[in-house]
């Protein structure tokens, strides 16, 4: 691991100043992904600003009837909160489908959104990877690609975003609140936070250098049932091969793209009276495999149909 200097920030302006003032500085929250990547020298920050003690760990109900989740609320705490479990069960279910109890106790809301892909080649500095080393090529295109993307990928990168939580938040229409080093605050719809790889897979979000996520806001829960279904290689403690979040008429997919994939074609088809099968086909029309992940096309279709039915059952219960 590359040596780094360390400081603990106690307020948001101090944290912003600390990162803006040092080249190679990074925010450090739960650390469950960043520290792992530092161990394999994929991440090499020169300076870490520990934000764990910033006052951003509260969950509040908003005047609009939604929820404001502080950036530092731990995944496990969020999943267990009654203000989430009853009105937003899809979010609790997604969080609880991710990682292990120990990791959920450390991983934070903002850190979960900003975690990096688990592409084997991204983690292995001995292989080409355009995300880790722009211009070096993509080893996954011709390599082991059974965990890779079927939607929105590019010739430069076929990595997926690994989060479960973000898929549920996408279906719920969440937004991300941030502050920039100049003090400017903005709200970014979650669907616009992450980018597709295009020619620049090393860029993963629209966040500017030194911009800090302070909260995630949820609008009031949409009418209708909610459900999260995750298909993975084993029954627990594994990343999604395909996952589906349904919140009323809003649907998002995980494990299929470089970002949580809001299924807008599917939503539009259902709203105009299409059957679930027709709607799934509309969403997956542009999907394509790379050999090892061809199985994700039929798997995604079936997972969509099953989760839509599951959400309807939940609405009736």
């Amino acid at each position: 691991m590359r040596p780094f200097s360390y400081e603990r920030a106690t307020d948001v302006p101090g944290a912003l100043r600390a990162v803006a003032g040092r080249p190679g500085a990074k925010f450090l929250a739960g650390g469950t992904n960043l520290i792992d990547l530092m161990k394999v020298r994929v991440e090499t920050p020169a300076h870490l600003v520990d934000v764990n003690h910033l006052p951003l760990a509260d969950i509040e109900e908003t005047e609009a009837g939604g929820l404001r989740i502080g950036a530092l609320v731990r995944n496990h705490v969020l999943a267990g909160d009654r203000r989430v479990r009853r009105p937003y069960p899809v979010l609790s279910e997604a969080l609880l489908a991710g990682a292990s109890g120990q990791l959920r106790n450390r991983a934070t809301t903002a850190g979960n959104l900003l975690q990096r892909t688990r592409c084997f080649y991204f983690y292995n500095p001995g292989t080409p990877c355009n995300k880790r080393e722009p211009g070096s090529g993509c080893a996954a295109l011709q390599g082991l690609n059974r965990i890779h993307a079927i939607l929105g990928d590019s010739a430069a990168c076929i990595a997926t975003h690994p989060s479960d939580m973000a898929v549920a938040m996408s279906a719920l229409g969440a937004a991300v609140e941030t502050v920039s080093p100049d003090g400017q605050a903005r709200a970014i719809p979650l669907g616009e936070l992450h980018t597709l790889p295009g020619d620049h897979p090393e860029v993963e979000t629209v966040l500017r250098p030194g911009e800090l996520i302070t909260a995630v806001t949820l609008p009031p829960p949409p009418a209708g049932g909610q459900a999260y279904r995750k298909v993975r290689d084993r029954a627990s403690y594994a990343f999604a091969l395909v996952s589906v979040a349904v919140a009323g008429g809003q649907v998002a997919l995980g494990g299929v793209a470089h970002k949580p994939w809001r299924a807008t074609r599917l939503e539009a088809a259902i709203a105009s009276g299409a059957s679930p099968g027709e709607a799934a086909d509309a969403e997956l029309a542009p999907a394509h495999g790379h050999g090892g992940n061809d199985y994700k096309l039929p798997l995604a279709r079936r997972a969509i149909l099953r989760t839509l039915a599951q959400a309807q059952e939940a609405a009736r219960a």
């Binding site: 691991m1 590359r2 040596p3 780094f4 200097s5 360390y6 603990r8 450090l28 650390g31 469950t32 520290i35 792992d36 161990k39 020169a46 870490l48 520990d50 764990n52 496990h76 999943a79 267990g80 009654r82 479990r85 009853r86 069960p89 609790s92 279910e93 609880l96 489908a97 990682a99 292990s100 109890g101 120990q102 990791l103 106790n105 450390r106 029954a235 627990s236 403690y237």
Partner: protein, 183 residues
């Protein structure tokens, strides 16, 4: 040579003085900032109960309690834990006064080689506390339910972050049920 000197300077270790409260004792440590909590416990303090298995947060052998919450100590830096309360397997019970989970693991033979056991026991202690807070799990049919019985599938799911290569899982489950008052 000049270039190499610069590289060496940029890669020079950064040393920090910290105080860690472990098992009720505050200890002053001088550590490289890269030192994980796990390495601080094992190599600096000499508490070798927490084990290094994968060192990547995947096996759970290094599980300890930080402010009562179970965490993997390999994916967190020691410098992040000043003013936290850390409990390791050595602080959970003593040889002459075992923690109920330690006694139950002995009674139910909840191990073979024993390497994962400290992590299993610390994880189980944290898991039972999480259940006492009413938290659901992936095995819970209705996450909004008020009362979630700690069934066998619930325990298995909640303990999935702790691997046992000897596959002592049936006896680990029996030990946790016993210590948790579930049998």
């Amino acid at each position: 040579m000049e270039v190499r000197d610069r590289v060496q300077q940029a890669d020079a270790p950064v040393i920090a003085q910290i105080a860690l409260e472990v098992n009720g004792v505050v200890r002053a440590l001088t550590v490289d900032t890269r030192t994980t909590l796990l390495d601080a416990l094992r190599e600096h303090i000499g508490l070798t109960g927490a084990k290094k298995g994968c060192d990547h947060g995947q096996c759970g052998a290094c599980t300890v309690l930080v402010d009562g919450m179970r965490v993997v100590s390999c994916l967190t830096f020691a410098v992040m834990h000043e003013h936290d309360t850390i409990t390791t397997i050595e602080g959970l019970g003593r040889p002459d006064a075992l923690h109920p989970l330690q006694a139950a693991f002995v009674a139910h033979d909840g191990f073979q080689c024993g390497y994962c056991t400290p992590g299993q026991i610390c994880s189980a202690a944290g898991m039972l506390a999480e259940h006492a807070r009413g938290w659901p799990s992936h095995a819970t049919a209705d996450v909004a339910a008020e009362d979630i019985p700690l069934s066998d599938p619930e325990i298995r799911e909640r303990m999935s972050g702790n691997l046992c290569r000897c596959a002592a899982y049936p006896n680990i489950l029996a030990a946790i049920k016993d210590a948790g008052g579930l049998t």
